[in-house]
């Protein structure tokens, strides 16, 4: 059994993990649709996006690993951390549920990632800026693909409308966390590494309003609920997804294709 890696509490590392883990965990959730999507073409589309996200996670986690002493590689970070050391927002780890839920979450997170990558192109960290330039193209497509589905389902049949409304009610409270600044954001902003998350809030709301407005899905009111995945305190679903992801590397350390 491979033991977990230990991480320093460097804010720049935390900042990178929040981005990399969002891509990693959402990519894993999308990969779960492989063989289960409503039609073959969408099955391929979802797994393509999962692979884009895993690719983005690889780049960011490799960069994050260079900030650890001793240096950790992408696989060690992806597969050998304890749950508390994952920094994705809770939204990314929620079970995939039905298709309406999946496409709405994709719309929310790809919009967020797109806005983040746009800003990260100007990062003082040249490698992060490079990853952002490539990832932005992918995120733009993810957003368009997801938004089109939100509109189709929101404006589709009675059942698709009902499922879209249910997904929105379920997912929306988790959005607040995406813009909830703390010391990690302050350090990243001050050091020129990247934007504080709160600065993405207004543009994100504007883009979501456009998507939801097209099918007259009213944006839910803000609630007092705050999820805390990006601080390492996850939902009850996180342990299960990590167990599935980590099983091979834990049981067969260093196992490769």
């Amino acid at each position: 059994m491979q033991t977990s890696v230990q991480l320093p509490t460097d804010p720049a590392l935390q900042y990178l993990l929040r981005i990399g883990d969002t891509c990693l965990i959402l990519g894993q959730r999308l990969g779960e649709w492989c063989g289960h999507a409503p039609i073959l073409e969408e099955d391929i589309a979802l797994t393509n996006m999962a692979l884009d996200l895993i690719g983005q996670a690889r780049g960011v986690l490799t960069l994050a690993g260079q900030r650890c002493a001793p240096v950790l590689d992408e696989d060690q970070l992806a597969f050998l951390r304890d749950e508390r050391d994952y920094r994705n927002p809770t939204l990314a780890e929620l079970p995939r549920s039905d298709f309406a839920f999946t496409v709405l979450r994709n719309a929310m997170l790809s919009t967020w990632l797109k806005l983040l990558w746009e800003r990260l192109r100007d990062s003082r960290d040249a490698e992060l800026a490079g990853i952002a330039g490539k990832a932005l193209k992918e995120a733009r497509y993810h957003q368009q693909h997801a938004a089109d589905w939100v509109v189709r389902l929101g404006d589709g049949t009675e059942e698709s409308r009902r499922r879209s409304e249910a997904a929105l009610a379920m997912l929306w409270p988790y959005a607040a966390e995406l813009f909830d600044d703390d010391a990690v954001d302050a350090a990243a902003e001050a050091g020129g590494m990247g934007p504080a998350r709160s600065s993405l809030r207004e543009p994100w709301l504007a883009e979501m309003a456009e998507i939801l407005g097209e099918v007259h899905l009213p944006m839910p009111k803000e609630s007092g609920f705050r999820s805390t995945g990006s601080r390492g305190v996850h939902s009850e679903h996180m342990g299960y997804i990590l167990a599935e992801m980590q099983y091979l590397q834990r049981a067969y350390p260093g196992g490769a294709w």
Partner: protein, 97 residues
């Protein structure tokens, strides 16, 4: 098989590999509308850098020759070798045209 009435329409996909080349037919897919068809074509047929442009067209919009007319349509061209431009003598200057 699901009921044909509930199937999304079929689209033929044409992919252009590089600027300057022509779009080549590469397969078909199901999609609900033109926008979805283009996106699906991108996802299904250009995953390995096959394309720089895609066309989609509703399969039921394609007018095809009748396979039963094959003899009448195509066989008469068989013995008309003079239709190939191989009987001209090219000047040396354009020999490698």
């Amino acid at each position: 098989m699901s009921d044909a009435k509930n199937e999304w329409p079929l689209w033929e996909v044409f992919v252009r590999t590089k600027a300057g080349l022509d779009h080549k037919h590469c397969g078909s897919l199901h999609a609900a509308d033109p926008k979805m068809a283009v996106q699906m074509a991108r996802d299904v047929y250009t995953r390995r850098q096959e394309g720089s442009s895609v066309w989609v067209v509703r399969s039921d919009q394609i007018v095809a020759s009748d396979p039963g007319d094959k003899d009448m349509f195509f066989d008469p061209a068989e013995d008309k070798v003079y239709r190939h431009p191989t009987f001209y003598k090219l000047p040396d200057a354009v020999d490698h045209m």
